[in-house]
C-alpha cells in the first residue's frame, strides 16, 4: 500500500446525510390485491394502528402509486407464487428503502430460500388477519429501530 495511513473516522467532512426516499418516515402502506375481501381484518388492524392503507388491484398500479409517493411498506398478493420475486424486484428498482411483505403458500423455509436477498419482512398467508398485521407492524418497528 502506498500513502501514509491516518485515522479516518470522526471526520465530519466525510459524513453525509442521505436517505432513500421517504420510506422510513411515514406510515403509508400500499396493498396490491385483487381480493380486497380477504384483507378486511388485516387492513382494519393497520388502520387502527395509525397506518394509511392505499389499495391497488394490479402490480402496475402499485408501482405507479409507489413512484408518486414512496410508502414505508408494500404488501403484494400475486396470483401466482412465482411472480412474487419479480414483483418485489420491480418495487426495489423504484426505491430499495421500501419494505415489503408477500402473500405466499410456500413453506417458510422455502420462501426464505426463494426470496433471499430481497429483505422481505415476512410471508403472509392468503387470508391475513389482525394478528398478522400486528406481527408485521412489530417487525417493521424493529427494523426501523435498527436504521433499516
Amino acid at each position: 500500500m502506498r500513502g501514509q495511513a491516518q485515522p479516518l473516522l470522526h471526520r465530519p467532512d466525510l459524513r453525509r446525510r442521505r436517505t432513500l426516499g421517504a420510506a422510513m418516515k411515514n406510515r403509508r402502506i400500499l396493498l396490491q390485491t385483487s381480493r380486497p375481501e380477504a384483507w378486511e381484518d388485516f387492513v382494519a388492524q393497520l388502520q387502527h394502528d395509525g397506518c394509511t392503507v392505499c389499495m391497488t388491484a394490479t402490480i402496475d398500479q402499485c408501482k405507479e402509486a409507489a413512484r408518486r409517493d414512496i410508502p414505508v411498506l408494500a404488501l403484494l398478493d400475486p396470483p401466482f407464487g412465482d411472480l412474487a420475486r419479480a414483483w418485489v424486484l420491480e418495487l426495489m428498482m423504484i426505491d430499495a428503502g421500501m419494505h415489503t411483505a408477500v402473500v405466499t403458500e410456500m413453506d417458510e423455509e422455502v420462501f426464505h430460500d426463494v426470496m433471499e436477498g430481497l429483505g422481505i419482512l415476512m410471508p403472509l398467508p392468503p387470508e391475513p388477519g389482525a394478528s398478522e398485521a400486528r406481527r408485521l407492524l412489530g417487525l417493521l418497528k424493529q427494523v426501523e429501530s435498527l436504521g433499516g
Partner: protein
C-alpha cells in the same frame, strides 16, 4: 482531487491484514479506507450493526451516513445492492481476495469489476 471513501466488510479486528468478510450484511466489522490518486491516505474501522430479516437497508444507510462512496464485497443481496446503487455508492466484487489489503490493492490498481446483479445472493442460489 477525487477522493474515495471505501468500505470493506472484514473479519475481526479489521484493517489491511484482516480477512475479507464475505457477506457485507453479516460481517464482524468494516474497514474503511480513504483513497486519493490511487493511494491510501487514511484508514480506520467501523463496527458492524445488527442484522435482522428485512433490515437489509440498515447497513446501507449506516455506511452512507459515514461518508462511504464505494464498497468492496464478496457477497450481497439484491436489495442492498440496489440500495447502494440508488445512493450512488459504487459496489465492486472482491470475493476472490482473501485479505482486505489485497482487495484494496486490487481496487487501487483498477482490477475490480462492478458487483453485478448476477453475483447477488438469492433465489436459492446461495
Amino acid at each position: 482531487m477525487s477522493k474515495t471513501v471505501l468500505a470493506i466488510p472484514s473479519e475481526l479486528p479489521g484493517g489491511m491484514d484482516a480477512g475479507m468478510g464475505m457477506h457485507f450484511g453479516h460481517c464482524d466489522i468494516y474497514t474503511v479506507v480513504e483513497i486519493e490518486n490511487g493511494a491510501v491516505t487514511a484508514q480506520g474501522t467501523l463496527p458492524s450493526i445488527p442484522h435482522q430479516q428485512g433490515g437489509c437497508m440498515a447497513p446501507v444507510q449506516y455506511l452512507a451516513g459515514h461518508g462511504v462512496t464505494a464498497m468492496l464485497a464478496g457477497g450481497m443481496g439484491m436489495r442492498p445492492l440496489m440500495g447502494f446503487n440508488q445512493m450512488h455508492i459504487e459496489v465492486f466484487f472482491a470475493g476472490n481476495y482473501p485479505t482486505v489489503g489485497q482487495a484494496v490493492e486490487a481496487f487501487c490498481a483498477g482490477k475490480l469489476n462492478r458487483f453485478s446483479t448476477d453475483q447477488t445472493c438469492g433465489g436459492g442460489a446461495h
